[in-house]
């Protein structure tokens, strides 16, 4: 079985004035269909770069990134937009809902860019909103909802296009621990239903909700394996530092 997401020796460098920053330094990894993976790292570890590349918002400086067998690095902007629309569902820390649109319109946006007809859009958006428990609030505006509810709308929006990968960037970062847990439970449910979920976080306690952890440090993979192994939550650079499991 070929991997859904495959990094082959991926590098990403930025020029910051005179210095060259290596945000991704020869990263190689594979994520298979149906996995629930957490990419963990402190700020500056390269996890945002990693997420941008997985999310097809950015392309590697060198190396290959294959998404569902297709080489993303060689795509132009239009093809990147298409593949984002088709293959990826984004969940952001700040929810990133469009404030002027109602919830159902927000959820419809990806389908609109996919060229789905108005009626089908409405149907599908309604179904996913019901699934996340907001079926009764389709005509509300985002600012009428709590943070947790907004995040559920953004999950609905990520799901509506039936993407190959659900990419969650610090999905609980702006939520209190209780609603955070609810959101994580929802992600878990999606995984159980067969979706591939990639969770990006700096927080070990969140990361251990996943099956597998990929730990990044200074743009390199320092751990890749079972989320429940003790090494998974230990930063090798700071030996002995453990976070509560």
């Amino acid at each position: 079985m070929s991997a859904l997401i495959e990094f082959q020796d991926v590098c990403k460098t930025y020029e910051m004035g005179d210095t060259i920053v290596r945000a991704a330094d020869h990263i190689s990894m594979k994520i298979n269909q149906g996995e629930f993976v957490a990419i963990v790292g402190q700020s500056g570890s390269g996890k945002s770069t990693c997420m941008n590349i997985i999310g097809c918002l950015d392309v590697p400086t060198s190396g290959n990134y294959l998404l569902d067998g297709r080489d993303v690095g060689k795509m132009n902007k239009n093809e990147l937009a298409e593949i984002r629309n088709e293959k990826l569902g984004f969940i952001f820390q700040q929810y990133n809902l469009l404030a002027k649109l109602t919830l159902i319109e927000n959820v419809e946006v990806p389908l609109m860019y996919a060229g789905v007809s108005r009626n089908e859009r409405r149907e599908r958006a309604k179904t996913v909103l019901e699934m996340v428990g907001l079926g009764g609030k389709t005509a509300h505006k985002p600012n009428q909802l709590s943070g947790g509810q907004q995040q559920r709308v953004s999950i609905a929006r990520a799901l509506v296009g039936e993407p190959a990968v659900i990419l969650a960037d610090e999905p609980t970062g702006a939520l209190d621990s209780h609603t955070g847990r609810e959101v994580l439970a929802l992600l878990q449910k999606l995984h159980d239903a067969g979706n591939t979920v990639v969770l990006i976080t700096h927080d070990n306690s969140i990361a251990v909700q996943a099956q597998r952890i990929i730990r990044l440090e200074d743009g390199r993979v320092v751990y890749d394996g079972d989320a429940h192994a003790p090494e998974a939550v230990v930063s090798p650079g700071a030996a002995g530092m453990r976070s509560a499991v």
Binding site: D58, N78, E82, F90, N96, L98, V109, Y113, G115
Partner: protein
């Protein structure tokens, strides 16, 4: 993503901030209003001129000959022959002889009365009709009779409306009034078109002692071929005189054309000046769109992350700009129409002439087209900026 959806999105955004949209549109509204009113005034002027010329007859050619000594001249018969030979261009001709004698009715004198010697066809050519008595006849002309037809003004002022059979003196010569022309103006006045005397041109030529007749009035068969008819007359005269500076042929239709052209030029210049405010309005739209792109950077980032291609973002902003501009155009048309109505009333009250200020359909279609085009042109740059935004930076923007 369909165009109609971009349009709906644009309307939603435009209606979401009404005050801003209104202020943004103002430049376009003023520009379109100004263009429509100016074009409307121009149309009114043209229609007024056309009506005035139509009264004089746009189917006429006026020929005046200064002549070259006595060796070369054209005779009345030659002119009649010319009309007979060219029925497809020329319809009728009448010599016209202006006289300068003082007009005396009993003991009263009238200085303002125009006295002209014409042929019996003249009235028909001009479209004049006789209200009392008879017109001039062939026999009056051939026998050089001392008879005349007078205008309504003279008939009413000096003869209590009953002049036929009475006499009138021009210079030292006494004429018998045989007919009265139907009034041309609503209110016959001194020096106007109804203050006139027409007598046979043969009589007039003899009395004024002009040996040769030097002016003629032709009517053309077809108004559209007035220019050809004019050329024909000119060529004939050139053959006689071999010099094009000693005669002058004026076509009323041509004069009307010239006047119309002049008005058009003036209107175009004024409209272009008014259109400058359209450019200013366009820049206003561009400015607001640029602000809007900055404000909506995050939205653009989100849309791009969710799969919007550059051209969709572009389309969204261009359509928004074009819609704003076109809405301004429509408001401008409404205001333009209202102002045209107001201008018609004001002109009617300020002067005795009534000019109907009416914008043409063309100018309206043009106005909407231009305003939408301005939106597209000035919306392009901001839209391009929006479309080019890097989604990663745009998502991080707050």
């Amino acid at each position: 993503m369909k165009l109609i959806e971009s349009f709906q999105l644009a309307l939603k955004n435009i209606l979401g901030s009404k005050m801003r949209t209104l202020l943004t549109m103002l430049g376009i509204v003023i520009g379109i209003t100004a263009v429509i009113v100016i074009v409307g005034i121009g149309n009114g002027m043209k229609n007024y001129m056309e009506a005035q010329f139509a009264e004089l007859g746009t189917n006429t050619l006026t020929v005046s000959i200064r002549g070259r000594g006595s060796s070369r001249s054209v005779s009345v018969d030659q002119m009649y022959q010319l009309v007979e030979d060219n029925p497809q261009l020329l319809d009728e001709v009448s010599p016209t002889v202006s006289m300068s004698g003082t007009v005396k009715i009993g003991t009263d004198t009238s200085d303002s009365t125009s006295v002209t010697g014409v042929s019996e066809e003249y009235f028909d050519m001009r479209g004049y009709t006789i209200s009392q008595g008879r017109g001039l006849q062939y026999v009056d002309v051939s026998a050089r009779k001392r008879v005349c037809v007078i205008g309504t003004y003279l008939a009413q002022t000096y003869y209590d409306g009953n002049p036929v059979g009475q006499s009138i003196k021009i210079g030292q010569d006494k004429f018998t009034i045989v007919g009265v022309m139907t009034a041309q103006a609503d209110d016959p006045e001194e020096g106007g078109t109804d203050d006139c005397i027409y007598l046979p041109y043969t009589t007039a030529a003899r009395l004024s002692q002009t040996g040769t007749i030097s002016s003629y009035l032709f009517t053309v068969t077809d108004e559209d071929q007035a220019a050809d008819a004019k050329t024909l007359v000119e060529n004939t005269l050139y053959k006689v005189f071999d010099d094009d500076s000693v005669y002058n042929v004026t076509s009323m239709a041509e004069m009307l054309d010239t006047m119309t052209q002049m008005i058009n030029v003036v209107i175009t210049v004024l409209a272009v000046i008014a259109a400058i405010s359209l450019v200013v309005g366009g820049i206003g739209i561009m400015n607001i769109m640029l602000v809007s792109v900055t404000e909506r950077t995050r939205e653009i980032g989100i849309r791009k992350a969710l799969g919007a291609k550059e051209r969709y973002i572009m389309q969204q902003f261009v359509i928004e700009a074009a819609t704003t501009s076109a809405l301004g155009g429509i408001m401008g048309i409404v205001f333009g129409y209202v102002l045209c109505g107001v201008a018609t009333v004001i002109i009617g009250q300020l002067s005795s002439e009534s000019i109907t200020v009416s914008p043409s359909m063309n100018s309206i279609i043009l106005a909407v087209g231009v305003s939408a085009a301005i939106g597209i042109v000035f919306g392009y740059l901001p839209a391009k900026k929006a479309a080019r935004l890097n989604p990663i930076d745009a998502l991080r923007y707050d």
